[in-house]
Symmetry: C2
Subunit: 322 residues, 2 copies
């Protein structure tokens, strides 16, 4: 319950706070990326992620296989943030009446492929008739010492994996009926959950970690709240994904501001002690094939401070209930 | 995968078979009541159950708290069938746009109460805007030696807990706009998952067990398929729930036939060696406060044979995709 209440601002998180307040002692370990269950020498990390047609995806934009992959990848990304390895997933699928049986199989192909891409298997699931497609994925991982959002300390460096904003760039193009940049579309349709990187960073002594599902602005807020620290980010250092420059220009936004407000990057935001060896960080990036970039530092106080050319920027994450 | 393919007949199970065929080695342990994950001395049992407004419930019939309880109880019932004790649950909730935050909290009250009723806690969840209410509950339990559907042997006795058909009786009354029998309504709205009984039966040497979610006819079919045996049931011995006689009469069905075709009883169907001491079985029933009744025997061959007054009856379980 301690970590449960340490969420950043937003209407969705207000709802979660309200639920947790009512559940009281009936809720345990809620609010981090994963719940933890003692299991032999280590712990099982469990998380769940619900994707609904019309809220999270449209069948005009994504194939059913991509919808399945994306739903599973989003949930698996929570395991990456805990530094866990994947055990398996369960997928509940809501099927619109009249959809052919082959459609369900195609969607599950995507779910299964995403699980297999990180060494997991499909452990179970459920099917039900529903008004629209929906996919709810429960992921189960194994971890000895889980990384949390709550360990960042003033002076730590703030880092991010990959490049940000491409999923938003693809989404914005799709919304206005344009063809997205092909690399941006790939980032949107088939995000790669960073489990290998998350485990390697865990061994490297990362102090706090979260995956970027709500956008850099929103997720840095959760990390700041859980760690009771300020997160100070120089947006000029944020690596920009494909398609972002063009889409940001359409809105007259600086690309880094556009990228920091985009959800569903499924990259990792993490903090490392100042003393962390740059060579060792680079070696992890090379070994996992995922670039990592230092974008800021942990400060005293609280909240997220995003600066571009020295000026503070207001950026909010995506919120389904705003 | 072996147990995965050992499902009874039905369009829903055809779909599951098709998915599992495609997933191949990417699926593991699917098809029983629970997936199993090694965890220290024992195993964790995991299952998921999706409830969708319009498919599984209507808000005119049930309060949001009852909808939450019922969704959680249905999932927890799978743990009962494995002989597991509850660890916790995760609940994903789809929230209709415009629903007040208090509505979500009320629904989660029901989820949390069902978990607490069997000693479990809420471990996590997710919220998303959706076209209708939906609740997807993942349950996690712990078990040393799980009971499966696959251990029934010819000569075993076939037993059932509680009384059957009340949930169907309430549902049929609600569908035609009548007020259900109060006890039948309670059975429909607040089913009690039988975890205490399931664990006690596991210690007693039960050979196979399944929970009754699809109806006695359908679930006995799964047990028969997984055990590669015939399940022979004398419908005259089936204990009939409240409200069943009246509702069955409206359809000119014998009450036992009506009850055997009703879904969502969440009672346990199990098999015990012929040598099982009746005193010990009765002691378990007394200790857990749940009556158990012998209703048939396991035979050679396969399939379910439901007889009433010596004549075989055709009864199918409820199937969302039929």
């Amino acid at each position: 319950m301690r970590s449960a209440l340490a969420l950043g601002p937003g209407a969705e998180f207000d709802r979660i706070r309200s639920i947790l307040g009512r559940l009281g002692e009936r809720a345990a370990g809620v609010g981090g990326d994963c719940a933890l269950i003692p299991a032999g020498d280590g712990q099982l990390a469990v998380s769940v992620d619900l994707s609904v047609e019309g809220t999270h995806f449209r069948t005009e934009w994504l194939s059913l296989e991509e919808i399945g992959w994306r739903a599973a990848a989003g949930a698996l990304s929570d395991l990456a943030a805990a530094g866990a390895e994947a055990v398996g997933i369960l997928a509940s699928i809501g099927v619109p009446r009249g959809a052919p049986a082959s459609a369900v199989t195609t969607l599950m192909d995507g779910v299964g492929a995403a699980a297999a891409s990180v060494g997991g298997v499909v452990l179970g699931g459920d099917l039900a008739a529903a008004p629209t497609w929906l996919v709810d994925v429960t992921v189960i991982g194994r971890v000895e010492v889980p990384v949390t959002r709550g360990g960042a300390r003033p002076g730590d460096g703030v880092w991010v994996s990959g490049r940000l904003g491409a999923a938003r760039a693809a989404l914005d193009a799709l919304v206005r009926g344009a063809t997205p940049d092909p690399e941006a579309r790939e980032a949107f349709a088939k995000p790669r959950p960073r489990l290998g990187l998350g485990r390697a960073l865990s061994r490297l002594g990362v102090t706090a970690m979260i995956d970027l599902s709500d956008g850099l602005g929103g997720d840095a807020g959760h990390l700041a709240a859980a760690s009771a620290c300020a997160i100070e980010i120089d947006l000029g250092l944020v690596p920009i994904g494909p398609g972002v420059v063009e889409e940001a220009a359409r809105r007259s936004d600086p690309p880094a501001v556009y990228a920091a407000a985009g959800g569903e990057d499924y990259e990792l935001l993490f903090t490392l002690p100042e003393a962390a060896s740059l060579e060792r960080v680079r070696a992890v990036a090379t070994a996992t094939g995922v670039p990592v970039t230092r974008i800021g530092r942990v400060g005293e106080g609280g909240g997220v401070h995003l600066r571009l050319d020295g000026r503070e920027q207001e950026i909010h994450g995506f919120d389904h209930f705003a």
